[in-house]
């Protein structure tokens, strides 16, 4: 827990080598591995995807002198992402993977919300958490009612499957999705790492849903993915707006590398599968190598001390465990919160303070709400609702 990121130099970039066989290992077991191993794989895939996304944006907008170092680090990050993402097995269906994505959003965001030093940002995380919590419930209903399968085989009892803030009211106008950003000159390094982590996770979730949504045949599945992908885009808008736009691009890059060190280190600390733990440990060293390369650039080009931005040692790690009680408390206390501009308000004030969101939502839902349709009357039951004979074929049902 006391990794000194200034002292530990990690693996030099030119020693970070792969082969195709190394990248493509036998995946984890959907049935036997702990759900949190899958959670970590999905999160780290998202963080690596965000590293690439961020660095590509920088390459397109920054001074040409950064193009080569960005390309070199990106090449390794892309291979790291491949090795991590390819740990998901082929028998994990797209819908099952979706359930796991939502579990990531719930459990990782819950951990972040509890450790976040800035009370406003903690509130933002709790706000988003309740929405992803609802998505798990909606997708679980889809899995039960269309596929005839039980989402708990994926979440393994760690996360509740019940309504959160209803997805149909999560649709907001863009002006109500932006938040106040932290002040990069004053914010705790953990605040910056949190924002990068959650933004990465949500962005990958959005991209995943946009890729797999059309793979479903059922119209309600296609509609549900369309609806929830739209919310994930809102979440990316929300979370990325937490990051201070006054940070220099190089500062953002350095912070992202520190975020990757932090997250791989968190994964390694909690990992129960020794084969996967070795990968997390290897990539802690790779990311330290990237971080030090960027720290050198930061010193040379910006003439600033990385210690202005980075913590000496890694802050408190992500807790890879069930946050059931915290989530339930948040649900009880905050499910009726809505957003108006960058602030949070009670539902009864929404009409007066966030009329654009109401108008937008009414338009989007005017031909029906997929998330409401799929989960109408749905109560998750161990083994699916068919255990309770909830089918048109049950005797006495409206057949």
């Amino acid at each position: 827990m006391s990794l000194d990121i200034f002292k530990e130099k990690g693996t030099p970039l030119d020693k970070q080598l792969f082969t195709w066989r190394d990248l493509v290992r036998t995946p984890t077991s959907k049935l036997d591995d702990d759900a949190f191993t899958r959670v970590r794989i999905i999160l780290m895939n998202g963080i690596e995807a965000n590293a690439l996304r961020t660095m590509h944006a920088m390459a397109r907008m920054m001074n040409g002198q950064f193009r080569l170092p960005l390309a070199k680090v990106r090449r390794v990050e892309q291979h790291q992402q491949t090795m991590v993402n390819w740990l998901l097995p082929a028998d994990l269906s797209p819908l099952e993977t979706t359930i796991a994505f939502e579990q990531v959003a719930i459990e990782v965001t819950a951990s972040v919300a509890q450790h976040e030093p800035d009370p406003y940002l903690a509130q933002v995380y709790r706000f988003g958490l309740l929405e992803d919590f609802d998505h798990l419930y909606r997708f679980s209903a889809l899995m039960d009612r269309v596929m005839g399968a039980d989402a708990n085989t994926i979440v393994q009892n760690y996360s509740d499957i019940m309504p959160g803030r209803p997805t149909q009211v999560e649709h907001r106008a863009p002006e109500d999705d932006l938040r106040e950003h932290y002040d990069c000159t004053k914010a705790d390094p953990l605040t910056k790492i949190h924002a990068a982590t959650i933004t990465a996770g949500e962005n990958q979730t959005h991209d995943y849903y946009m890729t797999i949504g059309p793979m479903f045949a059922d119209p309600i599945a296609r509609q549900l993915y369309a609806e929830i992908a739209s919310i994930e885009e809102q979440h990316v808008t929300q979370y990325e707006s937490l990051m201070d736009p006054n940070e220099t691009p190089l500062e953002k890059w350095m912070l992202h590398e520190a975020t990757e060190v932090y997250n791989y280190y968190s994964c390694a600390e909690y990992e129960t599968n020794p084969r996967i733990k070795q990968i997390w440990e290897r990539f802690v060293d790779y990311e330290l190598g990237h971080l030090h390369m960027v720290m050198d650039l930061f010193q040379q080009i910006e003439r600033r001390d990385p210690a202005e931005v980075l913590p000496q040692t890694l802050p408190e790690l992500i807790d890879y465990q069930s946050h059931r009680q915290f989530v339930r408390e948040t649900l009880n206390n905050e499910v009726d919160l809505r957003a108006a501009g960058t602030r949070f308000i009670n539902v009864e004030d929404e009409a007066a303070k966030a009329p654009a969101s109401i108008a937008y939502r009414e338009q989007m839902n005017s031909e029906g709400s997929p998330s409401e349709i799929v989960a109408a009357g749905y109560v998750w039951t161990p083994g699916t609702e068919l255990v309770d004979r909830k089918s048109v074929f049950a005797k006495g049902a409206g057949a």
Binding site: D91, M147, G148, A149, L386, V387, V392
Partner: protein, 243 residues
């Protein structure tokens, strides 16, 4: 700028004869090219060998021990095999309920067609699938197992049958196309019940065997129904085309 939204009907474009000139060009290009490496498909097989020999299983049965009474006469390994296959059948029957719900949905929307299943016939099959699922829940519970487990065989069955669900829930699929997919399901289901009967019989679970034989009787009817409806639909189409 606004188009009419009308689509020019060209029919199926997947074959070479869609565009004979382009077909000649693509063949010309392909035959002129040289592969970058020699050999054939054997390299693919060798790549698989590398992973197969690592020996990682897809998954296992839970380590939670079944009740002492239930395993009095059987060792745990035998029980695990039985529970694995029961879990498979349970998952399949559960999916079967949703498959027939989708078929009912389609036939209700399109209206009953002759030839083809009546709504009442679909409801009867769906009800029997639900009954089989619930019976298997009880059977697994009675053996001290956990009916909520997705066993390795259940997982394989889910992977195998993903396409069936895709066909049934696709609003564009026709009733005969759905019946074709259901034929795959019913053939598998029949064989699955036959295997369970054999296992129950060998292990001396007479009550269980009898229950499974009743289920198989239903499933044999389902299979015959689906075969007949499919055959009738296809033959009817031939006759319609001829006339």
């Amino acid at each position: 700028m606004k188009s009419t939204g009308a689509q020019r009907v060209m029919g199926n474009r997947t074959g070479m004869q869609t565009s004979p000139e382009l077909a000649d060009e693509i063949i010309e290009g392909s035959t002129a090219a040289t592969p970058s490496s020699g050999g054939g498909v054997e390299g693919i097989a060798e790549s698989r060998v590398d992973y197969i020999t690592e020996g990682f299983p897809l998954g296992s049965m839970p380590l939670v021990p079944v009740s002492e009474e239930a395993v009095a006469d059987e060792d745990e390994a035998t029980m695990a095999v039985l529970l694995d296959k029961l879990s498979e059948r349970l998952a399949f029957e559960r999916m079967g309920v949703r498959l027939y719900e989708a078929l009912l949905n389609k036939c209700e929307t399109l209206g009953e067609m002759s030839p083809g299943p009546t709504l009442e016939e679909i409801r009867r099959i769906g009800t029997e699938e639900l009954d089989h699922f619930l019976m298997l829940n009880e059977t697994i519970t009675d053996l001290g197992g956990d009916p909520t487990v997705e066993s390795p065989s259940a997982d394989i069955a889910a992977v195998t049958s993903m396409g069936i669900m895709q066909v049934l829930t696709d609003p564009r699929s026709s009733v005969p196309q759905c019946l074709q997919a259901l034929l795959t399901a019913e053939l598998t289901d029949n064989a699955g019940w036959e295997l369970l009967i054999e296992m129950a019989s060998n292990l001396g679970y007479d009550d269980m065997r009898q229950q499974f034989e009743t289920a198989l009787t239903h499933e044999e009817e389902h299979l015959q129904n689906v075969r007949d409806w499919l055959s009738d639909c296809v033959m009817d189409k031939i006759q319609t085309e001829e006339s």
